[in-house]
Symmetry: C2
DNA sequence: AAGTGGTCTAGACCACAAA
DNA sequence: TTGTGGTCTAGACCACTTT
């Protein structure tokens, strides 16, 4: 049996040289074996060597061919199942998911979103200073009211036209973001560069009509529909790291993502 | 050493009877052992027996105390790490995450959302018929243009006031949803009851101003800000199962969820 | 130096689906 | 009946963090 099958069946004999599953592991690398395998399979899927519906060979054969134990192979496969790229069916096998999977919803910055969409975002920092925390911000960040926080206000544009107005608050003890850097990258990248590891975020997406000031900033008429997003991000230890309150031009932006069903 | 530690340190001696980690496994149950352990730990966290910051005992001790192998214990712990309830640090240990974790974003139906919030949703079915698929729907569902689909239009309310207008299209071959059932439950529950297993969905959230008809339906003035959601859901085999195009009153609804950072 | 999680092995038996 | 993934064991060695 050849290790990859198309529906309803099999590849031509002599395909083993093109077998997209078997490959050379680097056992001297510090990269874990299961991770090497996962990346290899993912690449094979991305470049189309494994087509939706294809069955991977069964796990036992696979582990023999690769010289790995079955649990290690399973660990690799499981990570791709978790990503939504593969589906396992008992008694059937493991196959590549049919639908075009895009990335699941990530805690990504708007900057990265726009950049990866080739939108060449620009940022104008309107405000960057230390203030006493307003009540709602203090509550969101778990700080005593009046504690010192950094407030950032930024206008993000693509193609010279505004997309979003971003207001963020950070505990002043955490980071003193430089205005210059903020104009050339995203806040989350600055946090990561400062060694702050994000773990989770609580987020709320809504809509409302634009105020006169918001309209002026975003070049929308007063009363235009805006998307709003409020988010508090936490680090590994559960400490609030950042609270953001953003508004987006609905005519130029939407939240777009893939969900996986919890199982 | 007692198995649970508070910061900076330990519970009183004699606490072993209250040890929130050790418990009795049911080896005769068909429920997997790792799953029993995961549920037990999750319950201990939810009821506060394990407090944020608490360290679980190390994995080797734990497996000995529970009479399980270490991989099985790891499998249980890993599932809770994936859920965002626990954090592991090499050289340190596994501890309960500080922040209050709510559920991550799920592919849940609005009906379930409102019901679990105690809002007692009601549904009025405005339309339930078979039609030839419009071009955009056919494209989303991967059907030839003009193929037969079921179109549903529903108005969902809580406390007697409308919250959302839901328009859904399904391949007619898949399901013939009964209007009566649709008034008493959510579409996704009907799909599940029909044996349709959802796997993933592609979703886009935006905003726009209400049209005159939308305003009349939702009891909002024309031009009011509305939240919009377009979603296509897929089953295990990657077949499109449903396409929804919904509008929500921004004054009464927001998308509210927790994100975990991919790692 | 000691203790933790991270990785890996080489088996075993079971549950489920398809032929 | 056969083949698949699902679960589980009892070890091993390594990398990292803290003392």
């Amino acid at each position: 049996m050849s290790p990859v099958h198309r529906t309803p069946q099999r590849t031509a004999p002599g395909d083993r040289a093109l077998d997209p599953v078997t490959f050379a592991l680097d056992r001297s690398s510090p990269v874990p074996l299961y991770y090497q395998l996962a990346r290899h399979l993912e690449a094979a899927i991305q470049r189309g060597a494994l087509v939706p519906g294809d069955l991977l060979g069964n796990e036992v054969d696979l582990s023999v061919r690769l010289g790995l134990s079955r649990p290690t192979v399973r660990q690799a496969i499981q990570s791709l199942v978790d990503k939504g790229l593969l589906v396992r069916r008992r008694g059937v096998g493991t196959q590549v998911v049919h639908s075009q999977v895009r990335r699941p919803l990530e805690l990504s910055s708007l900057y990265d979103d726009l950049e990866s969409a080739g939108q060449g975002p620009t940022t104008r920092v309107l405000r960057n200073e230390r203030i006493a925390a307003p009540a709602d911000v203090a509550a969101a960040l778990g700080l005593p009211e009046g504690a010192e926080v950094v407030v950032l206000e930024r206008l993000r544009s693509t193609h010279g036209r505004p997309v979003a107005f971003l207001r963020n608050h950070l505990p002043a003890s955490l980071l003193e973001p430089g205005t210059v850097r903020l104009e050339s990258t995203g806040l989350y990248r600055l946090l990561r560069a400062a060694g702050i590891v994000l773990h989770s975020a609580r987020q709320s997406i809504g809509a409302r009509a634009a105020s006169a000031e918001e309209g002026a900033l975003l070049q929308e008429p007063e009363g235009a529909a805006l998307l709003t997003m409020r988010r508090t991000a936490y680090d590994d230890a559960g400490r609030p790291v950042e609270h953001g309150s953003h508004v987006y031009r609905a005519s130029r932006y939407a939240f777009d993502f893939q969900l996986l069903v919890r199982s």
